[in-house]
């Protein structure tokens, strides 16, 4: 492989990886909705009915489904990453191993520990910003008045603690 081809494929590989990771946040959104099924249930009549009619099956699905979905994606993603780093020009198998562990770990930290946990806070922030935009406030003013309460961040992390307890056995 020539140097230019290697550079090009490396760049393309990173772009593909970014795309794949972006599309992996879609099931992540799904999971975060599933992880908060009981809180979503108030707004969705079907779920509300289900929760009242058979509480134990609702609790079962609520507990098992989110980590299952994330486990399935955790199984597919490293395979894609391995294939992509091979495309990017990794020479040896151990180089592939290291690349996959690196990328997958980074993906987990960024997507699960940061985005997934803070989704509630981010949505709240987006909603506030949207209402400010509707009130025709200036951009500088909106940027200046962005405040995130550390208590909210802490609260969203703590509310996800049971999810992690159900996630661990899947490791």
């Amino acid at each position: 492989m020539s140097d230019s081809a290697r550079t090009r494929q490396q760049l393309l590989g990173w772009l593909w990886l970014a795309l794949v990771c972006f599309f992996n946040t879609v099931p992540l959104l799904l999971i975060s909705l599933l992880a908060n099924l009981s809180s979503v249930a108030q707004y969705v009549p079907f779920l509300q009915e289900w929760q009242t009619s058979s509480e134990w099956s609702f609790a079962l699905v609520n507990g098992i489904l989110p980590p299952t979905v994330s486990a399935i994606f955790g199984w597919i993603l490293p395979k894609i990453m391995r294939w992509l780093s091979e495309y990017q020009g990794a020479i040896t198998q151990t180089r592939l191993d290291r690349a996959v562990v690196q990328r997958y770990f980074a993906f987990l930290i960024i997507s699960q520990l940061l985005i997934f946990s803070l989704l509630g806070v981010l949505i709240q922030l987006a909603r506030e910003t949207y209402s400010k935009v509707e009130q025709h406030q200036s951009f500088v003013e909106i940027i200046k008045n962005i405040t995130v309460d550390p208590k909210d961040i802490q609260g969203s992390y703590i509310s996800l603690a049971p999810y992690w307890l159900t996630f661990f056995p899947y490791v």
Partner: protein, 163 residues
């Protein structure tokens, strides 16, 4: 065919407090050595293989091939990630740390068995992935301090607003 001896690292880390158990058990999992005296070759991604007879390879590689032939690279990053989650949640919700510790204990038994009797390493790295994994567990400690700062800030804000 492969003669694998398994030695976990014990020693200086053993006397650390219990929350550090997490990083300790990761290092004991990944620091475990497979001294394989039979297959001394490095397989290249392109399918080429280079034979070498004199060097003694040790593998801290993340990828193992089970007897059935399917490979799994997920355990390594997942365990590292579990350590990171446990550390982040230590100041926020200590019960998660307990859960992680239990899973680590169980998986240390399971993976020890797997490493000794089930996994067959096909790729020998000579320990090059060790520093990377050490870096990742160090990085988790930065996350721990971040979450500690977060919970301390939240606590201070709450207590100052109550006055």
């Amino acid at each position: 065919m492969l003669v694998c001896t398994h030695s976990t690292r014990t020693g200086s880390e053993g006397s650390w407090p219990s929350s550090i158990l997490l990083s300790y058990s990761t290092s004991s999992l990944f620091g475990s050595r497979l001294d394989c005296s039979a297959a001394h070759h490095e397989t290249f991604a392109s399918g080429l293989s280079r034979q070498s007879s004199s060097t003694r390879f040790t593998s801290e590689s993340a990828r193992f091939v089970t007897r059935s032939g399917c490979s799994s690279e997920a355990p390594s990053s997942n365990l590292l990630f579990m350590a990171a989650v446990g550390l982040v949640y230590a100041p926020l919700a200590p019960l998660v740390v307990l859960g992680a510790a239990v899973v680590f204990w169980i998986s240390s038994v399971v993976y020890k068995y797997q490493l000794m009797f089930v996994f067959v390493t096909t790729v020998e790295s000579g320990g090059v992935s060790e520093p990377h994994q050490a870096f990742k567990s160090t990085f988790s400690w930065f996350l721990l301090s971040a979450s500690g700062t977060l919970s301390a800030t939240a606590y201070l804000l709450v207590s100052s607003s109550c006055k």
